[in-house]
Symmetry: C2
Subunit: 363 residues, 2 copies
């Protein structure tokens, strides 16, 4: 196998079965048929997944490193995930723990066109953590969301994202919401950027992106596991001037390791910032998972632009110093509901959030 | 809440917490913010998820039935899954067990344009189970795949699907493979239908569908969780003459119940046949899961066309009678690798498979 992706699986099984299970996964994720029935020499030598190593992690848990032929992916994001974990996702005792990619794959996908550095530059921030909040709840008419956005901007937050429930709904059509919020931020002279959430099939995504662009917007959000990783890839490739934030909806926590899926793959496909559920919030990720995810998003060894980690999910103002201690300055902090709970004091609360983040670097 | 989707979640927690957890899921899957911070009366009354019932299934496991506003989905497949399980997929102790949809949703999506009855009619079969096999392994040039397809057709199989690893790869480009296989089947005068696997973003899917159509093909396969459920929805809506088979790659077995995702949702979005890992094969689905999945795909109470269940994943000729006993005649049996293992006797082995299925109805 010349140019290979190396996938790392964790397999729960008895020690006596580990080698055979690793081989079975290698076959499942490549030719998906009995190897004895394969006649083609090239397929046997180049396409069948190659078990490169099996080691025990702890009793009953084994790590298998498997080489997968790059050509099988056709450099398509969906097909890449398919080759990594398509059928193996149906095996309850197999976890896709990690993967590394050859230069050919990195070059073909290209990663973020606008990563952490560009996201800092867009809002005129230098060497500090960035701040963000979320427009919600869904169900409100555009006018109320515009008012919310204006107050967040007044409080000085760097980025405002749509809640991922906001889509193109009759009570708040995408085009109207985006035009009015873009307009309000521009007229107010705020440096704050708005990231609307794009949803639907690729034609819908493209239309929404065009509407956002017409409203002067240069950052958008997409949930790759909801909208399709290939659609993210297409949007990133076709819109090199747009920054993309990836949302983890439907990305699960189950058997596709979050640092790989959210930190590494979403970035590979073109996201310059990745939202994920932070430890100690409403979701169950551990500190170790969050650390590994942030490290993967920022890792410079691949040559791709670093993507900004965006820990979220029940964050509070009180946790800002702790979060900055943990993540450092290469982060976008996202506080949504906790700011909104301030209701009529939203502007002041937002300002307190922003000030706390900005000051932190000087301490 | 006027018109609502009812989602059923299974939540692992202590009895004392069950009501609060159900409410938390209802909030997470709708407004995703503290309810106390919501000022809008309409949002409070119409948009916030409505806990309709919580009951203990067994100690430590609770079922919560939650009403979700239909309008929040915008009748988009991705957004529908997002509203059902987007953020809850990140909660390790929550399973999306089932969902039921109001008439408005059923009408907007429409389900399969070509379900089981149409798939029978396409191959001139009456009231019997259908047969299918798979082209594999990936990595073979088009010429060898054409030869395989011809031999399957010679053996009389009803449907030949691409292995889901076959995509648009340099060693076997989609357009060439599809044109040549379509040509070979037509010239041979076989009633056998070929279902090529479509991959990539929506523009790629559309291009491939056009190429398939030009080759005289009227059935295709797509993996909705790889390609994006909204893309499946768009393909189904825009191509009412094409039958669609859904592949379960990346659909996992974890916390989104297979009968709901594969049997109900893939069908709702437009798939007329759904592949799933059968019990007793290479994957871990139980007999009960398979039964529930097939029942969901065939259920006539919704008014949608029934979709054909396609149990697969390591099936053998020897199991045909047992599978027909279990599923009855409303099924497409799929045997891939086990037929291919016959190598030079592939035609005879395929014929034996077909004969066994055809004869079964007369016993």
């Amino acid at each position: 196998m010349k140019s290979a992706i190396e996938a790392v699986y964790h397999i729960r099984c008895a020690a006596a079965e580990a080698e055979a299970r690793a081989l079975a996964v290698a076959v499942e994720q490549s030719v998906e048929m009995p190897v004895v029935a394969i006649e083609d020499e090239r397929v046997l030598g180049e396409i069948v997944g190659e078990v490169r190593g099996v080691r025990e992690l702890k009793p009953g848990l084994f790590e298998a490193r498997i080489g997968l032929n790059v050509e099988t992916t056709g450099h398509d994001a969906g097909q890449l995930i398919n080759m990594l974990f398509g059928n193996a996702s149906l095996l309850e005792d197999v976890v896709l723990a990690d993967a590394s990619f050859p230069a050919e794959t990195l070059a073909a996908f290209g990663g973020p066109r606008h990563g952490l550095a560009a996201l800092r530059a867009r809002v005129g921030a230098q060497g500090r953590a960035l701040t963000s909040s979320a427009l919600k709840p869904q169900g409100m008419p555009a006018a109320k969301l515009v008012d919310l956005a204006r107050r967040f901007a007044e409080g000085g937050v760097d980025y405002i994202k749509d809640d991922h429930g906001l889509a193109d709904q009759t009570y708040s059509p995408f085009a109207e919401r985006v035009a009015r919020i873009g307009d309000a931020l521009r007229k107010g002279g705020y440096p704050t950027r708005y990231m609307p959430s794009l949803t639907g099939h690729l034609d819908a995504l493209k239309l929404q992106l065009r509407q956002a662009r017409e409203a002067g917007i240069d950052c958008v959000m997409i949930a790759p596991m909801v909208s399709g990783p290939s659609n993210l890839q297409a949007l990133a490739q076709q819109n090199p001037d747009i920054a993309i934030l990836a949302h983890p909806a439907l990305a699960g926590a189950a058997r596709l390791a979050p640092p790989l899926l959210i930190g590494k793959l979403f970035r590979l496909f073109g996201a310059g910032a990745v939202v994920f559920p932070n430890y100690g919030g409403r979701f169950g990720y551990s500190r170790e998972t969050c650390r590994a995810l942030a490290d993967a998003a920022l890792d410079e060894s691949t040559g791709l632009k670093p993507a900004a980690p965006v820990p979220a999910g029940g964050m509070t103002l009180a946790r800002v110093p702790e979060l900055l201690d943990f993540y450092g300055r290469d982060v976008i902090l996202l506080i949504g509901g906790n700011l909104l709970a301030a209701r009529e004091h939203l502007v002041e609360e937002t300002r307190a959030f922003v000030t706390r983040v900005e000051r932190y670097q000087h301490e």
